[in-house]
Amino acid sequence: MEKKLVLVHIDDRPYQVEAGQTIMQAADKLGYHIPRLCYHPKISIEGACRVCIVEVEGMKNFVASCAFPIADGMKIRTHTKELRTARRDIVELILDNHPEDCHTCERDGICELQRLAYAMGLRHRHFEGEKKDYEKDLSSTAVIRDPNKCILCGRCVRICSEVQKVNALGHAYRGFKTVVMPAYDMPFKDSVCTTCGQCINVCPTAAFVEKNYTQELFEKLQDKKFVKIAQIAPSVRAAIGEAFGFPPGRAMHLETVACLKRLGFDYVFDTQLTADLTIMEEASEFLERLGGKGKLPMITSCSSAWMKYMEQFCPDLIENISTCKSPMSMMGALLKSYFAQKIKKNPTDILSVAVMCCTAKKYEAARPELEIDSLRAVDIVVTTREIAWMIKSAGIDFVNIKGEQFDEPLGISSGAGAIFGATGGVMEAAIRTAYELYTGETLMDIELNDLRGLSGIKEGKINIDGKEIRVAVAHGLGNASELLSIIRKDPDRFHFIEIMGCPGGCIGGGGQPYAGSNSIPLDEECLRKRAQALYDIDRGKTIRRSHENPDVQKIYKEFLGRPLGALSHKYLHTHYKPKEPRGIIPEEIKAR
């Protein structure tokens, strides 16, 4: 159906635009990029920052263009003198209550507020006065909150409640004292925060950042005592280039390996390999459950934020969760057992470092139930952002470096392991293997397009030996909770479910590079390109099914025995317990 067109004037030029959109949406399409701050297309309109104000003829006051619907005959002005002054003053007011420590700030140079202040032409200050003074919340293993840098745009609050449906954050107090905090100002570690890090992704400043382990890592890399081993997650390679000015969608694992070697790592392994291993275990577990041993639908457990969410909000589904550890923890477990034996080292002398796209992995790494013989499987987790900074800081030329291959014996991966990083990837990989494990035949049509893309909940069907297997995929915890309520109503609807905590899957993780100057956080186009990079890796591989990975086969032969065997259970599986967070527990769960 054709949309109704209306005539509007923007800065005295007439335009025909579609009705039913906001002034900002219409202006964007016409090449007017009205300055903005609190607006984000993925979340609801807040109208809080007032940076995007415009003048509409006949209105007494300025209107926020992000919120105001366009109407026929509207005469809009976007940069009159009065508007420019007002916008400038508003941005100054934000700056006046913001610590002026740009040079020592983590986001120096990639800060939306800096960019905005520059664009507004703030050359001197008029209204300085008292600044807020709060303590940082350093309690969490993954996410740091610095209220002093917060400019109260409310993006974090909205993404946490609307996209992730975790509701860990809210505004507290009034007026100048307003601050964003978890309920009752409890420390982050005690709150319902799942450490997914989406607040970091959308924060325009450094009010939310990951807990930084770079200094510790730099020090340990100099320590001769350790054998230093890094693993790199699939989606790190799809995004790390962005931190060095490359456009999104370039897979740069070889460059990353080369840089990590120069940083001082002795071995650089590929988390994609343990992704393959995860598939072996998970597909086997699924077939076992399908055969009547265990609860269906089975739900994946790779995403650390999702695991914390599940323990807190849906302990009723705990038996549906796959017992497999995440690929990162599997790799960590192998490093401190299989690989330690292989190189004849004491596991205590192994420094196991994970380079992840994720902040929640920092939390996962510290979970006591994932320890291997009372040792942490992964000692340090750094995000894509942190490793990119370390590479820059150490003066390593990422841009021009000659790529190097992952090390043996944990370096070969299948295409199935690569696509783990995109939403739907785990499911796709698992089906490739489960099909063959069950039927003994090779699945030929391995690209499951139903499960790809960025729609919130994706469903698919696959025929395994005459049996229809119904699967579903959700990314982002909000979509996950929606899918779970479907399951609660209709437990037999699906057999197998993949859930990823972040929008887009791991490629949209909380540890990925910040949006650059011409981009917005969590831009869908960018997510699509990152995913495409992973699908391209898959296509470029000759081995595209996890069970065909020779390294995986070797590990089973040399060490683990068989999927779901005793050693697999010791090293690759775990169990989850309900957690009662100190936040608010949903009524439906309390009732149970």
Partner: protein, 605 residues
């Protein structure tokens, strides 16, 4: 058995017009007709309708006969009491509910000049007894709309009456109802906004405490007009008595079938729930109020969509102020035509004001729109105490402006107050005399609004804080050249850019005082002088030769700023003095002077 009570006005004016003689004639006629035992005759104090005297009221029904002469009386008595037909040609405003306030006898100076429509029953009936309300035509308006008015008729009537929202913005009530009524939705809500947040305003509390059923009746009629099945009264928890009376009134109304299913035997169903607010000023803003009811933090959201389209739980919602709703039954019963005859061209009816500050009769007054500020302050309010000079009047609560003497003859309505640089607001009216410093007053109001800002939008949250800082600086004697311009620049930006009404009006006290009392700002900044002697940074206490050395001042000084000196017994260390004024108050010998500073910067240079 007495069936009628005739009340004859015996005020001075009516007495001159021979009301006493009338009594005899009435008695004679009653005897003639043989109905003497059915009627009781009372004399009352001035009924306040001197122009129409002599006046006689026949109860029940509050039929008021005016301009009656000796020869008319027998006819009236016969018609009204025997034939049970009130005699129309002598009736004065028989239907007008507001007339009942004249029963507030004995206080005619205060009440006689008012016109009480909203407060017609306040201070007259027992608010906890539904029978009292029923006896004064309570719920008759509801019965009338349910008997022979369609929702469309009601909306047309309210539109015709010209009633505008009394919460402050003055949006036409009928139009608001029409918008919500035209929305197609199975679920609609009507909300009564009783979250009275303006400091000093308490008309909503008084209305609910004095006449809760009026508000409930207005809500039911509104619900019927827009098609709402559920009503919510959002009232601040700080009003426990009002809440108690509302609860009782709602229960009584349910028992009488005014609320609940099948109201008064019709198919119309409606019920009311009370929600308590935690007392945030911003929750008076309708979208913030909706968020608060929904259980979220009370923060406004951008409009459109307006609540009448998407309000509570995203359903069409009408939000009306207590005072607006209290007008509804009267309009229905007495007609839009009559109601719209009161007031000015664009503002109809009456408005309740809470008089406070430097005025003799502090309290609630209700006057027709178009009454001048002077009439309210001097005629009803009794002027300024202690023969002080009037300096300004602040209308509209903390977001209103301060109007100086030249505006005293402004006829109050929404537009004229706005034009003068203030607002109607919810009807706070604070009178300021010459002893008050306008800079300090602006600072006081801004302190309130900046504390009560919800913290959502930048201009209001950060801007009002900066304005407050600048004002504080000025009152401490640290004002700088350019401060006034900064205040104006910030104030205008905040007004035009803020998200909700709170921010859009928060700078009003500052901007209006700068406009009307700029010289005081200049004195503060350039000469470090506060002519009212209120700004602590701009005066000193000094001990003069009258000191007898009793030491009381030293004892009360909280900061040990007073010590004994051989020269004049006691002395104040200026650096330590916090200007609390305690010593000044306790000294019985006038030995402490308050010395205003005045620095002439020109001379010093």
């Amino acid at each position: 058995m007495i069936r009628y009570v005739i009340t004859l006005c015996d005020g001075p004016s009516c007495m001159q017009k021979k009301s006493k003689e009338l009594q005899e004639i009435i008695e004679k006629q009653l005897d003639n007709l043989g109905v003497r035992q059915k009627v009781q005759i009372n004399l009352s104090g001035c009924l306040g309708m001197c122009a129409k005297g002599p006046v006689m009221v026949i109860n029940p029904g509050y039929t008021i006969y005016g301009n009656i002469s000796e020869k008319d009386v027998p006819e009236i008595i016969e018609s009204h009491i025997v034939k049970k037909k009130p005699l129309a040609k002598f009736i004065v405003d028989q239907d007008h509910l507001f007339n009942r306030f004249y029963r507030v006898f004995g206080d005619v100076n205060f009440f006689g000049k008012q016109m009480r429509i909203v407060l017609r029953n306040c201070g007259i009936i027992d608010p906890e007894n539904i029978n009292d309300y029923l006896s004064v035509r309570g719920y008759e308006a509801l019965a009338k709309v349910l008997t022979d008015m369609s929702p469309k008729d009601i909306i047309a009537e309210i539109k015709k009456s010209g009633l505008r929202g009394r919460g402050g913005a003055g949006f036409p009530t009928g139009f608001k109802w029409e918008l919500a009524a035209s929305e197609e939705s199975l679920e609609k809500y009507i909300i009564c906004n009783a979250d009275e947040g303006d400091p000093g305003a308490f008309m909503d509390r008084s209305t609910i405490e004095g006449d809760p059923h009026t508000v409930i009746e207005g809500m039911i009629i509104g619900a019927y007009a827009v098609g709402a099945k559920k009503g919510i009264i959002y009232i601040r928890a700080e009003y426990p008595l009002a809440i108690k009376r509302l609860e009782k009134a709602i229960n009584d109304a349910r028992q009488h079938k005014f609320l609940g299913d099948d109201i008064l035997g019709t198919k119309f169903c409606f019920d009311i729930e009370i929600r308590l607010g935690a007392g945030a000023f911003v929750c008076g803003e309708e979208t913030a109020l909706i968020h608060s009811i929904e259980g979220s933090r009370g923060m406004p959201r951008p409009r459109p969509p307006f609540p009448s389209v998407s309000g509570l739980f995203d359903k069409p919602t009408v939000i009306n102020n207590v005072e607006t709703l209290a007008n509804i039954p009267v309009i229905i019963l007495d007609g839009a035509k009559w109601f719209s005859s009161i007031g000015t061209e664009k503002s109809k009816g009456t408005k309740v004001f809470a008089l406070a500050g430097k005025i003799n009769n502090t309290g609630l007054v209700e006057v027709p729109m178009g009454t001048t500020l002077r009439q309210i302050i001097y005629d009803i309010g009794g002027g300024i105490p202690n023969n002080k000079k009037f300096k300004a009047v602040q209308t509209g609560g903390p977001s209103g402006g301060c109007l100086p003497e030249i505006y005293l003859d402004t006829k109050i309505d929404y537009e004229s107050l706005l034009a003068a640089g203030s607002i109607m607001g919810s009807g706070g009216m604070i009178v300021i005399d010459e002893d008050s410093c306008m800079v300090n007053i602006a600072r006081f109001f801004l302190e309130f609004t900046q504390n009560e800002s919800c913290g959502k939008c930048t201009p209001c949250r950060e801007g009002t804080k900066r304005m407050f800082e600048i004002l504080t600086r000025i009152t401490q004697g640290k004002g700088k050249e350019g401060d006034i311009e900064k205040l104006e620049r910030l104030g205008n930006m905040i007004k035009k850019s803020s998200l909700c009404g709170l921010g859009q009006s928060a700078p009003n006290p500052v901007l209006s005082t700068i406009k009307n009392f700029r010289e005081e700002y200049i004195e503060h900044i350039n000469y470090k002088k506060c002519r009212a002697g209120q700004c602590q940074g701009l005066f000193n206490f000094e001990i003069n030769e009258k000191c007898i050395g009793c030491g009381v001042c030293k004892k009360v000084c909280p900061n040990q700023a007073i010590f004994a000196s051989p020269k004049s017994k006691y002395q104040i260390i200026q650096d330590k003095c916090i200007k609390c004024g305690l010593c000044f108050k306790v000294c019985k010998f006038n030995a402490i002077n308050k010395i205003l500073k005045e620095v002439n910067l020109w001379k010093r240079n």
